[in-house]
Symmetry: C2
Subunit: 365 residues, 2 copies
Amino acid sequence: MTNPASAPRALIMAGGGGTRFWPRSRQNLPKQFLAMRGDRSLLQETADRLEGLVAARDLMVITGKAHVGRTREQLPGVPGDMIIGEPTGRDTAPCVALAAALLARTDPDGVFFTCPADHVIEPAGMFRKALQAAAQVLQDHPNAFVTIGVPPTFPSTGYGYIHRGESIGSRLGVEASKVRSFKEKPPVETARQYVASGEYLWNAGIFAWKPRAVLEALGRHKPALREGVLKIAEAWDGPNRDSVMAEIFPTLEKVSVDYALLEKHDEVVVLGAPFQWDDVGSWLALERLNPQDAHGNTVQADHVGVRTKGCVIVAPKGRTVATLGVENLLIIEDGDCLLIARKEDESAVKEVVEELKRAGRADKL
Amino acid sequence: MTNPASAPRALIMAGGGGTRFWPRSRQNLPKQFLAMRGDRSLLQETADRLEGLVAARDLMVITGKAHVGRTREQLPGVPGDMIIGEPTGRDTAPCVALAAALLARTDPDGVFFTCPADHVIEPAGMFRKALQAAAQVLQDHPNAFVTIGVPPTFPSTGYGYIHRGESIGSRLGVEASKVRSFKEKPPVETARQYVASGEYLWNAGIFAWKPRAVLEALGRHKPALREGVLKIAEAWDGPNRDSVMAEIFPTLEKVSVDYALLEKHDEVVVLGAPFQWDDVGSWLALERLNPQDAHGNTVQADHVGVRTKGCVIVAPKGRTVATLGVENLLIIEDGDCLLIARKEDESAVKEVVEELKRAGRADKL
């Protein structure tokens, strides 16, 4: 039944909204469309990274309906009808389920990789190697869900963890193990124990699986969701694609793929990521992803600093930013907004967005 | 010889350059042309303040040659040829000397008031009262130089001081005294003694005098300067006004009126200012001159603050400034520049300007 020779496909999940990069990310310009280093957006980097393993014509991108146009602009190599707009965000399970249903129409047993559109991963070659290793696992275990876990470098309380179990050997030098359990974002003490034990990996939301296996698991654990996406897939090539999508998709259960599928599946395999990973979770990521000047400032702007240390400074072309006597600030100008925050408050940027909402400033969101 | 009934005239000295209000003040837009509260520029406020005492047609404004156009725009009531451009800045003595020489042509014994264009003074009525009192002193002492000194409110090391001597009685309720001496900007210990003694006033650069007396004093103390301005005055109504001005003015000694005239004159009288005075010396003046929000922020911008205290925030229309967790910052956006500084470093804003010069960024100055 399986056809190991068929070319792998990939789903890029580009549905993120996100307020942590305000004012650069806005409702109509979420983080995945932004370049965080160099010129390519995170979404473009994600597609670039798959190049050589998955052809552009075999990419599927699911994003918010409002962002389909921008996605097509940024990824001109991806066939237009492989860029799909969700009428409303329903978290990751309906997204993966829809992709599985659509891909099953042509090749239910072909591997499809699944990854978020807004992470930074280096080097790309090791990322592809890990996915190839995952595909090899699927040759032996066609019903498995394979996930790539990231070895933790600090006791993060912001990520989920995967408890690695018994080894099933390595593929292409990448160690594969059964998954014992998934753990929600832990308190810091627990996170410390996880890291110290060496048995835990961060859940980075990167998967390899087959449409048939995903649909079968949905049938067991989320039958209504399976029904819904199959109806959409049935109508896909007819005249009612848009209306059926608009009618059914918003009714699908809003649930994460981790909760709906991974945690419930009986055959989940985790590979230890052989690459550097950053989820670009907030403005401080710029500091990790870019070089600093002699005073520890991360600068993407025309900047003149006097006694300025450890700041992250971003401004558009044409603007000159002068700083005097300040340390550890985020100074971010974008469009018609300017954000000045303490670096240590970076995770509270959403409070600014909430404050803008309260103040009725939808135009600035 | 004196004609006490003649209408008083006034010289507004608007030659300031100044870097302490960068980025709002630039080489081509010095502080006197900026509004620091409300809509009127400091220059316009200065002219407004004299209204009722000196008619607009009797104002003379001396500014930098490059700023004549803007001055005429801002003060449409002042006759165009009473707005005079200095080819190069030569400090205040040549400015006062030229005014005296020009005014002497029509009324050498008429009072002329002299004041800087870039201070804030409240209330205007008390300012006019002080000038009227000064004019009354000149009725009795036509050769005197009368200056208005400001009672010090803190031991400033940034202002010059006037040591008040023997009283010569009050005029219109304003106490007048002989001046014992002028003191340069003192160290803080000395400044404390000055303030504690009650015998010292700040030198605010506000004067009342007569053209004849100024020219006579120049003849004694700065004869070359007198010669120069008389030559310019002689050519003023002929075809060579501009060429003579351009030729002679830059050769005049660059010296302050305090040093050239006040400190050397034998008959200097000081009146204690019955008004509030602010020299608007730096960005912190905005805090003194404007109300604060509930968190002590001085805001001239569309501002959304989360845990933000004691900041001074200025940005143009259309910009939204969001602040998060920051205290006591200056956040000033103007034109193509943005300044972020610690409030306590406000007197060091000139270092930013110097840094821009070093970096060859004349376009930002």
